[in-house]
Symmetry: C2
Subunit: 139 residues, 2 copies
């Protein structure tokens, strides 16, 4: 009779992902205390793609509609983004980067790259490339 495989928490991919993410968040928070990783992702996406609807911005940053609403609210309160009604479609809210947001991103994007590098630092460059390629197939 085939013995069932035991469930070993430390071996589960979800548990390992959670611990890696916690370490990454800690590195980010220490290096960039002004905003969170999620907030910075929004700034990055606005920098890359320009003003866009809140709904689209959420989808472009892997956040659901309720989540992006909260993140945009907090960034607006911090003065890093501005929102405006779409003149052509009254359902839409257009989110754009403010000067302060652009300035913060410009000041911090190299630090943010360093955060990613530090997160991956225990691996060689070859291993980092392998990891990224494998993870990309799991999204």
């Amino acid at each position: 009779m085939n013995r069932a495989e035991p469930y070993i928490l430390d071996d589960q991919i979800g548990f390992v992902l959670r611990r890696v993410t916690q370490r990454h968040l800690a590195i980010f928070a220490a290096a960039i205390p002004e905003v969170t990783t999620t907030q910075f992702a929004v700034l990055a996406r606005l920098m890359e793609s320009g003003p866009q609807s809140q709904n689209h911005l959420g989808r472009a940053t892997a956040m659901d509609a309720a989540t992006i609403k909260g993140v945009v609210d907090r960034l607006a309160r911090l003065g890093f983004v501005a929102t405006a009604a779409d003149p052509d479609d009254r359902r839409r809210l257009t989110v754009s980067l403010t000067d302060a947001g652009a300035t913060l991103f410009a000041a911090r994007s190299s630090t943010a790259l360093k955060v990613s590098a530090d997160t991956l630092d225990p691996l060689s460059p070859e291993e980092q490339a392998i990891l990224k390629a494998l993870l990309a197939r799991l999204t």
Copy 2:
């Protein structure tokens, strides 16, 4: 002059980790609606290591003291764990699995293994082993 490397959100390890984790959480929620991944981790750890202090349990499941308090409260409310004061140390709360908790874990641990397998399914067994080994070095 060396041009600064651009910050491309989709290439950042933190962003990729978040998306992989979201997919994993969705697979888990569909397969095991009774509890969340974090709650199941607690059940798994109690199954592996037996009754233990809430603080130790938190550290054994990668959760801070405030977080494990909430997770244990919700599991207790669901009837899957029980808490009791430690007779030797009045600071401590001992958390143990109830019969219902043990039963749920027994009923669901193979499903949970399948969740991990499904999460990694886009990769070959060799690639899965490589990914796990690389991630393990980032915790």
